[in-house]
Point group: C2
Chain length 188, copies 2
């Protein structure tokens, strides 16, 4: 979640910054002008890269899912580490990512803000949570049967997302950190 070093395309840089603004201010409360200011672009120039505002967010969410997959979820499938080590490493990375820049999870935010009347973002966000669940499940499977590992993974993700909610509401990390702790204790 820190700014990408160069070698990234202009479009990728825009998606990166846009995702951060959307996460903090919400979809409907973020204007093209807000994004333009943050990106150092003129309003109209967004429509050169993206068809419209929805498409911009949609592509940003996909880009971010890719980032999470490479930087976080893939840890679960690394060779040469024990389940406990992979769990701790992945949850430690999860912690850094969700605490970045005042914290929060754009996937959860967008889901709760729009899911009821707009299905456009649903598939890409489902893809994010599918990958996350698969990763945790894979780790938990070294200790539990597949069905049980799946349940534990879902429970951990729910606990973490609920923790992020309370963290933002009470401006206190503990709820989120406790959830991470519990997710790693599953492997004890």
């Amino acid at each position: 979640m820190t700014e990408p070093a160069k070698k990234y395309s202009k479009k990728e840089e825009i998606m990166w910054i846009a995702a951060d603004i959307f996460r903090q201010n919400g979809y409907h409360n973020t204007s093209i002008s807000d994004l333009a200011k943050a990106c150092g672009l003129h309003n109209a120039h967004f429509y050169y890269y993206f068809k419209d505002k929805e498409n911009l967010l949609e592509e940003s969410l996909g880009y971010l899912t890719n980032y999470f997959d490479k930087k976080v979820f893939q840890i679960a499938f690394q060779e040469g580490l024990s389940a406990k080590e992979k769990g701790i490493l992945m949850l430690e990375t999860t912690k850094k990512v969700f605490l970045h820049n005042q914290g929060g999870c754009i996937m959860a935010n967008i889901t709760l803000e729009t899911a009821q009347y707009n299905t456009r973002f649903i598939p890409v966000i489902q893809n994010f949570f599918n990958k996350w669940t698969e990763a945790l499940k894979h780790i938990y499977q070294e200790k539990y049967q597949p069905q049980k590992a799946q349940e534990k993974a879902e429970q951990a993700i729910q606990d973490i997302e609920g923790g992020i909610l309370l963290m933002r509401l009470y401006r206190n990390d503990k709820y989120f950190l406790n959830a991470l702790q519990r997710a790693s204790e599953v492997l004890n």
Copy 2:
């Protein structure tokens, strides 16, 4: 969460309906016109009851917290029931309330949509979660020490709120229902 029978004031009826629209469509994506249509009022008439849109939501959230407290959270403090009975009754009521009308929790939605840049709704939503936590903690205390009961209550609420998120994302109740199940198993 079903419509209130009459004997409620016009203002209460408005808050009730408005909360439902806000929950489904989000704060910024709900216009005064949307609310007016749903309430059978003219746009301008809202400003007779409420100072502005923010005040309308703020009062609605307070009204709803009151409703939850009376109908759900107070179950924890009823006389003549065992902890297990109170837990099951309270969680069963929780289930009905959050599954109503396509489901979702307006407190979580508004927090994630606005908490980063608008502190106005924070106190009333904190009050909601405080009351919920106190209620669950009180039930769990018949089996756990206060500190442990507090942790279990927070964990249950996080699990439930994360479950509501996944329920809405995947259009599948199971995540939410599993969380309720786990919250009641704490008492086994």
